[in-house]
């Protein structure tokens, strides 16, 4: 199929940036979206132009790097997928596809479609861990009884890949689905209890300091999240923060 692409081009973090039109031809419907981008970039390189910079790593939906806002949706029109898992069969011959970087004040553009998501890392560092003595007599995690239900829910929360689609999608640029998932994954398990109050307090404080917005429960993040992280995790984070402050 032949496509018209409208892509955000921005030289560096200080440049102004604008949408630029490109044409790509003979795109197979079996290609992934990133493969289509590769075709475009080869074309650009061959004609001596600067290729479009975009983030990617695993190309199988696990690293969370690929971050494009495609036709008005994070990771494009498909559900439960990252951009690298998006297939060109979701589009038709002759389509115009708009491709923008993830937008949020806290995710500044580095170049073209590449944005700086280290705000997520700083939130993680603020409390997204448990402290374990690793001096050689570490307790076997399997020795701690955990209900199947809690283990499943914690595992579901832990599948968040930190891609930032929730923030990109949110009309408030709120990071609460991500932080909710990261808080929940520990809040649900006995190992997470000891540091629970400090964890949620510090992670929420960091989230606010990074300049993410306030959740208004539109539920858009849950729909666009490639890993199907549930809004229940935001409610749990709110509960955890209330609990932490009542202590």
């Amino acid at each position: 199929m032949n496509l018209t692409l409208k892509i955000w081009r921005q030289k560096d973090s200080n440049a102004k940036g604008q949408m630029v039109d490109y044409k790509v031809n003979d795109i197979s419907e079996h290609m992934s979206f990133l493969e289509m981008m590769d075709v475009l970039n080869e074309q650009l390189i061959n004609s001596g132009e600067e290729p479009v910079a975009f983030d990617h790593d695993c190309r199988e939906g696990i690293c969370g790097m690929c971050s494009m806002y495609i036709n008005g949706e994070a990771h494009g029109p498909d559900r439960g997928v990252t951009t690298c898992q998006l297939h060109m069969r979701m589009f038709k011959d002759g389509d115009t596809i708009t491709i923008e970087p993830f937008r949020a004040k806290a995710f500044p553009v580095i170049k073209d479609l590449v944005v700086d998501r280290t705000a997520f890392e700083r939130i993680q560092q603020a409390g997204g861990y448990i402290s374990v003595n690793t001096s050689g007599n570490t307790q076997d995690a399997n020795a701690i009884p955990i209900s199947k239900h809690a283990a499943d829910e914690a595992m579901d929360a832990a599948t968040c890949i930190g891609c930032g689609a929730c923030v990109a999608t949110c009309k408030n640029s709120s990071a609460m689905l991500f932080v909710g998932a990261k808080v929940s994954q520990y809040a649900l398990l006995p190992q997470g209890q000891i540091e629970a109050a400090d964890r949620v307090r510090n992670m929420v404080a960091q989230m606010d300091a990074e300049g993410f917005g306030n959740c208004t429960n539109t539920g858009a993040c849950e729909v666009e999240c490639p890993k199907g992280i549930s809004l229940d995790n935001i409610a749990r984070m709110n509960r955890e923060l209330m609990k932490a402050n009542l202590k």
Partner: protein, 226 residues
């Protein structure tokens, strides 16, 4: 605890608390007003009680006013903060793909309600305050008679088709505000109950029934005045 209400989540909790209070108040307000459809006497008595009881006037009324003001001021603060958090907006954004229009436009439904509240205060509240606390007339009767003035005043207000139209429009926006707000408030309070079928159904019934009740009252008095 003061740090809590400065956090993004704490502000949302405060927002939800004020909203729960307002939603409870609306039930009481509707219950009193609905009596005007079938009993002039009962409506007058209840109005007189609400208007002169010291507990209602000096304790509940200030709390209510604080609740309303807090709710919309905090609504504006959150809206401004959220706009700042966005930065550059998308050239193409397909909001309808993942969320409802009403959930994305709470500030606009809220603004219509606020405009209505201004009209409503000018209509009923300011004249009441002036009559009772400035002119000192706590009798609640029409001057020179033994009859209560409340029902008469109510009917008089709804003679104007423009005012009735404005009320109807405002209540439609209240319904929209509540269709998202009711369940949203539970989520803000950290409860997943708002995500379950039972409460969603109840929320829908509430969001339609309360505004519809007020609309019926306004329209009824427009067409059935003495």
């Amino acid at each position: 605890m003061s740090g809590f209400f400065k956090s993004s989540i704490g502000r949302k909790v405060a927002m939800a608390l004020s909203a729960f209070f307002l939603m409870f108040f609306l039930i009481i307000h509707l219950a009193v007003n609905i009596t005007s459809l079938f009993s002039v006497e009962l409506f007058n008595q209840l109005s007189h009680f609400m208007g002169t009881n010291p507990l209602v006037q000096l304790a509940l009324q200030p709390v209510l006013i604080f609740g309303v003001v807090f709710h919309f001021v905090m609504g504006f603060i959150l809206e401004i903060k959220n706009r700042k958090a966005i930065g550059i907006s998308y050239a193409k954004n397909n909001g309808a793909a993942n969320s409802t229009w009403i959930s994305r436009n709470m500030i606009y439904s809220g603004l219509v309600i606020l405009a209505f509240l201004v009209l409503h205060f000018i209509d009923f509240w300011f004249p009441e305050m002036k009559l009772k606390y400035i002119e000192g007339d706590m009798t609640g009767v029409i001057a020179g008679t033994q009859e209560f003035r409340y029902f008469e005043e109510l009917q008089h207000k709804f003679l104007s088709p423009i005012r009735v139209g404005a009320y109807v429009l405002a209540f439609i926006f209240l319904a929209l505000h509540l269709l998202h707000g009711f369940t949203s408030a539970f989520q803000s309070m950290g409860s997943t109950a708002g995500r379950k079928k039972a409460l969603q159904t109840f929320g829908k019934i509430y969001a339609y029934a309360i505004p519809l009740g007020f609309i019926i009252i306004a329209v009824w008095h427009h067409f059935n005045h003495l």
